[in-house]
């Protein structure tokens, strides 16, 4: 999918904002697109990203967003590329519509605006030029489902409160009216739940189970999100999802790495290869690129901490839970009925599901779920196939994540973790100052790597891993949209500089996904064409679009700071004020030459230093 145009007549701080999302034509062979929203704090960047998320969040729940909006995007199908127009004007739902028709090639805001204004709605139910969905008839419309993005993921490194506010539904007005018809208002109280309640909570919270009542959850085997429910297409990634995504990535990578390497010899060779990449700072491909930054070899064990299994009576995915337990090397009881299942991800003899389960008679449905695991040669691969079935390798990363997330939301899984084998760094902890580096390297016992838990990586390392895992979740997920609100927060400058390249390499090259990023970071923008940037500018309390006048691609970050973020200077104010005072040649008579030389030594390279050198040259010339 690719975003083309958005018009927000009235959304929070954004009043009558229109944006055309351009696709750069310079970098060939990209299936995906990336765009940036930049601006200073309070300019409305996050609001714009949130508005787009809000539109899709509502549409995937088959309802209209509660604010006027026009959103136009492309959807790529194997046989055709279509442009989808969603228009929701102020007024009754019947005025809103979604239309998917031939691809449109407009590039200016006024063209898009007049396309929407002059759009002729169909008279009857038949519309020869494309698929048409009426705004007041969204429920159960197959066309709506067909023309929405396959996945929408939103991630913010900032405050979740405004995002969470979007998640809460407002009780429909017509239902309020029908409440008045009920005779006994007392019975309504039993239906009340605390604010912010979710269907998942209703399922696992035992207090809500009325005795003798028939619980309204899905039958045990059909409990995973079915095709009918497509609300899980649009997900707000929360901090708690970060660890799930990272663990999912760990299992997925281990499945790729270890399944074909059953021999110790092969594993040693792999270790040597990664170690070589890490030591020589060679670039790996895919996830390896940032795993190398973390000295990560591979995860050895995955660990699944289950909630008190009294709650499992409401487990809608018991069959797969059963197989996970069957794959476990141990399940250890924890206080208050909790339990932890440990799976050694390494190589094992080819998996035969029947043997794992013991001798008991298995029902067909149970067998069916385990079938894909047959013949897996490491437990990581068995897990991947258990969660992802027969699907393509890339798509299964999403499946692992989604399964873990569903289990957590249903109150079954409390926490997941990994123990990870990491390259042993000589000098860490036990460094001996008398020993030269060469010696300590050779004395280091080969093969004794560090093993630590995911939680023991540093904050920054976990952020890098989880954010990159979010990115990789969409790899291979055609027609997906990733909304990133300041994803580079907490990263060091080197990682900030790399982030766009990581997005480009891991996602855009071969997936028709759109990534929309809001950012403050000049460093990141050196990798971006100015056509890909939308700058929001706030003046007199009103936000407007302010196009860039200077190219950014390959520019010096200082230039970007000046041109894009309108900073008064590329250096800090403290330095600028002091140095400006020193530029007066009168201040530097020849007798202060030594002092000047000393000052020049203290000033970093850049134009202020050049200017001071100039003054020094003049002194030397006069001598």
């Amino acid at each position: 999918m690719r975003l083309r145009y958005v018009h927000l007549p009235d959304y929070g701080p954004l009043q009558d904002i229109e944006v055309v999302f351009a696709h750069n034509e310079h970098l060939p062979e990209r299936d995906g697109t990336v765009n940036f929203v930049v601006g200073l704090n309070g300019s409305g960047k996050s609001s714009m990203i949130r508005a787009i998320y809000d539109v899709f969040r509502n549409l995937t729940r088959e309802q209209l967003p509660g604010f006027p909006v026009t959103l136009i995007y492309d959807i790529k199908k194997p046989e055709l590329e279509a442009t989808v127009t969603f228009h929701r004007p102020q007024g009754p739902p019947s005025e809103a519509f979604l239309f998917a028709g031939e691809w449109i090639c407009f590039s200016e805001t006024h063209e898009w605006r007049s396309w929407v204004e002059n759009f002729q709605r169909p008279e009857g139910n038949i519309y020869p030029e494309g698929d048409f969905v009426f705004g007041d008839k969204l429920k159960g419309d197959g066309n709506l489902r067909n023309w929405l993005p396959s996945r929408v993921l939103a991630y913010t490194s900032g405050d979740l409160i405004p995002w969470k506010a979007l998640e809460e539904h407002t009780y429909p007005a017509d239902s309020i009216e029908s409440d008045l018809m009920i005779d006994s208002p007392d019975s309504l109280r039993a239906d009340e739940r605390p604010q912010g309640w979710t269907p998942e909570q209703e399922q696992f919270d035992q207090r809500t189970i009325v005795e003798g009542g028939d619980p309204a959850w899905d039958p045990p085997l059909g409990g995973m999100p079915s095709n009918d429910d497509f609300s899980n297409r649009c997900i707000l990634l929360e901090p708690a999802d970060a660890q799930l995504a990272a663990v999912a990535l760990g299992i997925w990578e281990a499945a790729r790495d270890l399944n074909d390497r059953s021999l110790e010899y092969d594993q040693n060779a792999l270790r040597k290869k990664y170690r070589d990449q890490i030591d020589r700072k060679k670039e790996g491909t895919g996830a390896r690129r940032f795993l190398n930054e973390l000295d990560w070899l591979w995860p050895t064990h995955a660990s699944f901490h289950f909630h008190s299994y009294a709650q499992h009576a409401f487990n809608p995915d018991a069959a797969r839970c059963f197989w996970l337990l069957a794959l476990s090397n141990a399940v250890v009881r924890h206080p208050l009925g909790e339990a932890r299942a440990i799976v050694n991800l390494g190589t094992c003899s080819p998996v035969i599901p029947g043997d794992l389960a013991g001798d008991r008679e298995l029902t067909e449905a149970l067998k069916l779920l385990a079938e894909p695991m047959t013949g897996a040669r490491c437990r990581a691969e068995a897990l991947r196939r258990l969660f992802g079935g027969e699907r393509d390798l890339h798509e299964t990363l999403w499946d692992i994540f989604e399964t873990l997330r569903t289990w957590r939301n249903h109150g079954i899984l409390k926490d997941v973790n990994l123990t990870v084998k990491r390259v042993h760094r000589a000098g860490e902890g036990e460094w001996d100052p008398d020993e030269s580096e060469e010696e300590s390297k050779s004395a280091e016992p080969e093969g004794d790597d560090v093993v630590l838990t995911y939680s023991h990586f540093s904050d920054g390392e976990r952020m890098l891993l989880s954010r990159m895992a979010f990115l990789l979740l969409l790899k291979g997920q055609e027609n997906s949209l990733l909304l990133l609100d300041e994803p580079e927060t907490h990263f060091n400058d080197s990682w900030k500089r790399q982030i766009i390249d990581l997005i480009d390499d891991n996602l855009l090259r071969d997936t028709s996904a759109h990534v929309l990023v809001s950012t403050h970071t000049s460093l990141a923008l050196t990798d971006v064409f100015d056509s890909e940037i939308t700058r929001l500018w706030k003046e007199g309390g009103i936000t407007s679009i302010n196009p860039l006048s200077q190219p950014t691609f390959g520019a010096d970050p200082g230039r970007i700071l000046l041109n894009v973020f309108n900073a008064p200077d590329v250096i800090g104010k403290r330095a600028a004020e002091f140095l400006r005072d020193q530029f007066d040649p009168e201040k530097w008579p020849p007798e202060r030459k030594e002092e000047l030389e000393k000052l020049i030594d203290e000033v970093g390279s850049g134009w202020p230093r050049a200017k001071l050198m100039d003054i020094l040259d003049q002194i030397e010339a006069s001598e």
Binding site: P220, H301, S303, H312, C321, I342, V451, T453
Partner: protein, 227 residues
Amino acid sequence: MVNIPKSRLNSLSIPVPPSSRLQKFYETLAQFREVGNIVAFDSSKLIFSLTANAFSGELTRSWRETHHKKLALEARERDAALAASGAELPRGRRATIPELASIFEDLPTDGQYADLSREQRDLFKRIRKMVGGVKHLRYFTAEAVANEINEGPLHRNPRAIEAHLAVFAVRGLVIPVSRRHPDSVRTSYALAYRLPVENLDNENGEPDDDCRQEMMTQQFRLATGDI
């Protein structure tokens, strides 16, 4: 030392191997001595090995296994008699010799134990030596372990030990628990660890820490609609 009346001692029955068995032991020993003399075998080594086996209970294992019910009954009678005379029994049972032996054995290298660093394996063995080999709950903390270790990078280094304990916890080799803190004025809970125990030694029928089968059965019944 608590006084135990002689009448009580007289009433205790002590298991003695059948005299035929004892006779056989002497004969075998004599034979070995002879062989030792012929080939200049160092019989002291042999005696050492035999007595080690005798003390470890290895020699009488099969006999004890056949008579375990009777032995257990007698042990209970003994404890009751000691208790009646006012002797204080240690609250935690001491490890039996085969249990102790299992502590000194090397760790397995597969399953949960696979891929531990050398330092972690040594630490885990150390912990087993400290608190393992018993069938009741014995708690420890990183600090307690750090104080127990006399040398090396982990000596008095609870932070490094804590990181390893976290790995053990994720592996299910130790169980991290919150315990009510005894010294605090207000109720507070603090982190302690223990080893998982099998065949718990108590009368309340507390379940084992290995709950794999139990959970599998539950999920199986759920999945097949049996619950």
